[in-house]
C-alpha cells in the first residue's frame, strides 16, 4: 500500500511491516499504526503514522548515544507486547530535534518498545527512574553519570 509520509514523500510500504500501537502514543491516541523508516546515512529512524502524515517522530537507538541506558520492562508491558524473548525486542527513544543540534533532547523516560516479531509497539512511561523526558544528546553521558 502507499502512504503519505512526512519526510519521505509518498512511499510504498509492505503491510507486514506495520506495527500496531494498540494504546496509541500519549498525545496521539488515534494513531495506532506506525511504520519505522530509516533515514539514510544516519542512525535515525522515523516512526511514521500510517494514517496521519504529520504524526512522525524521529527516533533512535538509545544505546548508541547512551550505552549505559537501562530500565526494567514491567510484567504488564511484557504481556501487552506479547514478548516471548528479549531477542525480539527493539528499543527506541524519541528525539525532540532542535537547532542548533546541541539542544536536541532524547526522551529517556518514555522509550518506545517494539516487539519485532509480533509487530506490536508501545511508548512506555518509566516510573521510579532518574531518567527524564529531556536529556541533551550531546552531554547525555556526562549528565547521567553524575
Amino acid at each position: 500500500m502507499n502512504i503519505q509520509t512526512k519526510f519521505h514523500g509518498e512511499k510504498e510500504i509492505n503491510t507486514d511491516e506495520i506495527i500496531k500501537f494498540s494504546s496509541g502514543i500519549p498525545g496521539f491516541l488515534d494513531a495506532k499504526e506506525f511504520i519505522v523508516l530509516p533515514i539514510e546515512g544516519t542512525d535515525l529512524y522515523v516512526l511514521q503514522s500510517i494514517r496521519s502524515q504529520q504524526v512522525a517522530f524521529i527516533i533512535t537507538d538509545p544505546f548508541l548515544i547512551f550505552p549505559q541506558y537501562e530500565f526494567d520492562l514491567t510484567q504488564e508491558a511484557i504481556e501487552a507486547l506479547e514478548i516471548q524473548s528479549e531477542n525480539e525486542v527493539a528499543t527506541f527513544v524519541i528525539l525532540t530535534v532542535k537547532e542548533p543540534f546541541q539542544e536536541t533532547t532524547a526522551n529517556l523516560q518514555a522509550p518506545v518498545i517494539i516487539n519485532l516479531n509480533g509487530k506490536l509497539g508501545k511508548q512506555i512511561i518509566l516510573t521510579n527512574t532518574s531518567y527524564t523526558i529531556r536529556h541533551r544528546i550531546v552531554t547525555l553521558e556526562k549528565e547521567v553519570a553524575k
Binding site: 500519549p26 546515512g41 504529520q54 504524526v55 524519541i94 537547532e99 543540534f101 529531556r134
Partner: protein
C-alpha cells in the same frame, strides 16, 4: 465531576473491574491502591501530561534539518 467521600480502607469501583482503595491519609497526602486489568495504563497525571507535551514538541521538525542532525550524530559517535 462525581464527588464521593471515602475513609481509609474504603474503595470505589469503576465498571466491574477497576477498584481504587484509600490506603492511608497523612496530612495532605493520600495513598491510593488501584486494582485494574493489565491493559489499563495508570500514571500520575503530571507525568502523563509531560510525556504528551514532549511528544507534541517532538513533532515540530523541519525536514531539512534532519539530514544535518544525522551527520552531526555520526561524527560524534566516531
Amino acid at each position: 465531576m462525581l464527588v464521593l467521600t471515602r475513609k481509609t480502607k474504603e474503595s470505589i469501583i469503576i465498571e466491574d473491574d477497576i477498584e481504587i482503595t484509600v490506603l492511608s491519609i497523612e496530612g495532605d497526602q493520600v495513598k491510593l491502591g488501584i486494582n485494574a486489568p493489565k491493559n489499563f495504563d495508570i500514571y500520575r497525571k503530571e507525568i502523563y501530561l509531560s510525556i504528551q507535551q514532549e511528544n507534541n514538541s517532538a513533532l515540530n521538525i523541519e525536514t531539512n534539518i534532519l539530514q544535518n542532525l544525522g551527520t552531526f550524530l555520526q561524527k560524534k559517535n566516531k
